[in-house]
């Protein structure tokens, strides 16, 4: 850790910053120093010599890119994606594994990024909504299906639904409507737009099979 410009949380000087300043600072610089306020009163201290101790500066495989990022031990993947890597397509709804808005793919499997410590997925492939479209900007078949069917109303839950559906369809490419509903049953829509969402996702599944 000495190689990096990390402040020892025990000795850092508390700096008065607004939350917005801190978030902007972190996104802009990816630097730990801006986040040191989070460690006030912390009893945790670095135990670099202990077996299994983790470094804060890690490399994540996100949407096919290697992203170097400074990650707090207690940081969730949703926080890292949104506030460190600027991937704000992943939404935070409940932050409690109860709504699905934050769903991302971890090694092709849909999981709630609000309930994953980022350090636990540093050796895995992470795909967010930003990683679905092709390099040329061509939409993923499921995205195209949702667009064609106008599947969502307010859209806040869309990215989570899409990631859950894409993950489900990887292992169940030809589901019935009921099977697909079960596959995305870990996602909530407060607009109660489930019928149209299912129609759109079924269209997307059809496009996926043709692609």
């Amino acid at each position: 850790m000495a190689d990096h410009e990390l402040e020892d949380p025990g000795t850092s000087t508390p700096v008065k910053l607004s939350r917005r300043d801190v978030i902007k600072g972190v996104i802009a610089a990816g630097a730990a120093s801006s986040a040191s306020y989070l460690f006030r009163g912390s009893t945790a201290s670095a135990q670099a010599s202990a077996p299994g101790a983790v470094e804060r500066l890690i490399t994540l495989d996100v949407n096919g890119q290697q992203r170097r990022v400074d990650v707090m031990k207690q940081e969730t993947l949703a926080m890292t994606l949104r506030y460190k890597l600027g991937l704000t397509g992943t939404k935070l709804g409940c932050d409690r594994a109860e709504c699905g808005a934050c769903t991302v793919l971890i090694d092709d499997v849909p999981r709630y990024s609000c309930s994953i410590f980022t350090h636990t997925v540093r050796d895995k492939k992470i795909v967010t909504i930003e990683g679905l479209a092709g390099a040329n900007g061509k939409l993923h078949p499921v995205q195209q299906g949702v667009l064609d069917e106008q599947g969502f109303q307010c859209g806040f839950c869309t990215s989570g639904f899409l990631m859950a559906a894409v993950g489900f369809l990887k292992t169940n490419p030809n589901p019935t409507r009921a099977e697909l509903a079960h596959g995305v049953s870990g996602n909530l829509c407060r607009c109660m737009d489930y019928d149209k969402i299912l129609t759109a996702l079924m269209r997307g599944a059809e496009y996926m099979r043709k692609a």
């Binding site: 989070l38 202990a50 077996p51 299994g52 031990k73 409690r96 410590f117 350090h119 049953s185």
Partner: protein, 336 residues
């Protein structure tokens, strides 16, 4: 409770590569240490700041704790195997379908993709007074907030309560007990194997724990013997909504039929006590009897003997009766 706060308070994170390293870390930190498996129980505790561990020990990097292996005709399921992996495993589906059905009934797809079977059987009570940090018996205090004149106890225990009226929330636990599974526990000194039935404890044994695991112990695997492979199974979970919710009551049974009679049966109900309840008296009463309505009726009535409902959970008595009747009848999904 579900309040979004900026971040979980700081802790030191360890990702040891071996069980020995994990246990030496847990020994070093003692009550300040915290074991992390899938994390679905952990996150609520930490995000609500009810538990403030100094060190979190993540078991995710330990090789050999995950996966399903065929052993001695039965199965050995690593404690870190996800519920989805259990559900999808071909041998589980073919021979121990009871477990696949129970695991599939838990939580939501994303949670099953991350939550482990070891965590599912070892998770803490979900009583909201306890989870919200009230200083109740289970938290080391001297009152039960749920069992008071104005307590909200619709989801609480009807059997075996002792001061604490919380219930065990696991769906896989009753299925594992019905399958006579064995829990492989690594203590700091040795490996020991306990019957799934004895893995879960009630408040009379230790009011602060749900299982026999002592601090520093780790559940490493669950073994399922071939005894009940291919038996007739019944699993049903009743809950308020079909995703996320824990069981109000669930039932798991394994039955071997000889002729038209019940030859051998194991019957377990969860959501009614602080531990899954194996209904041995019912098992004994129905063994040798024909699998018909009269036997089901007898089983249902016998199952709830001694039940002591609280103000708001009286419905659990007929619910448990009917689930036991259905399990004895053995026809999934039919109305009681």
């Amino acid at each position: 409770m579900a309040v979004i706060r900026d971040v979980i308070p700081a802790f030191e994170l360890f990702q040891p590569a071996s069980i020995e390293d994990a246990q030496s870390l847990l020994a070093r930190y003692g009550p300040e240490g915290w074991v992390l498996a899938g994390g679905l129980d952990t996150f609520d505790w930490l995000a609500d700041r009810i538990k403030r561990p100094t060190a979190v020990v993540d078991l995710g990097q330990i090789k050999g704790l995950s996966g399903v292996r065929v052993v001695d005709g039965g199965l050995e399921i690593g404690a870190m195997t996800t519920l989805t992996e259990v559900v999808q495993h071909p041998v589980v589906r073919e021979k121990y379908r009871l477990l696949a059905e129970a695991a599939e009934a838990a939580a939501s797809p994303q949670i099953r993709n991350q939550g482990t079977i070891g965590g599912n059987v070892s998770q803490d009570a979900r009583c909201w007074y306890y989870r919200a940090g009230w200083p109740c018996y289970r938290a080391g205090g001297n009152i039960c907030y749920a069992d008071t004149p104005k307590g909200l106890n619709r989801e609480h225990a009807i059997l075996d309560a002792d001061r604490c009226v919380a219930v065990n929330p696991s769906d896989t636990a009753p299925a594992l007990i019905a399958l006579d599974a064995k829990m492989v526990i690594r203590t700091p000194k040795e490996e020991r194997v306990v019957d799934a039935e004895d893995y879960f404890i009630g408040p009379a044994t230790d009011i602060t724990r749900m299982t026999v695991l002592q601090p520093g112990d780790l559940l490493t695997a669950i073994r399922i013997p071939s005894t009940w492979a291919g038996a007739q199974f019944y699993f049903e979970k009743v809950r308020d909504r079909n995703v996320w919710d824990f069981a109000l009551v669930n039932v798991a049974s394994a039955t071997k039929v000889s002729g038209s009679a019940i030859g051998d049966v194991r019957l377990v109900v969860n959501g009614v006590a602080a531990h899954p309840v194996r209904l041995k008296a019912v098992e004994a009463a129905v063994t040798g009897k024909p699998r018909n309505e009269a036997t089901a009726e007898l089983a249902g009535q016998l199952a709830v003997q001694g039940a002591q409902p609280l103000q708001h959970n009286g419905y659990k008595v007929p619910l448990m009766t009917n689930l036991v009747k259905r399990a004895i009848r053995g026809v999934a999904g039919e109305a009681a």
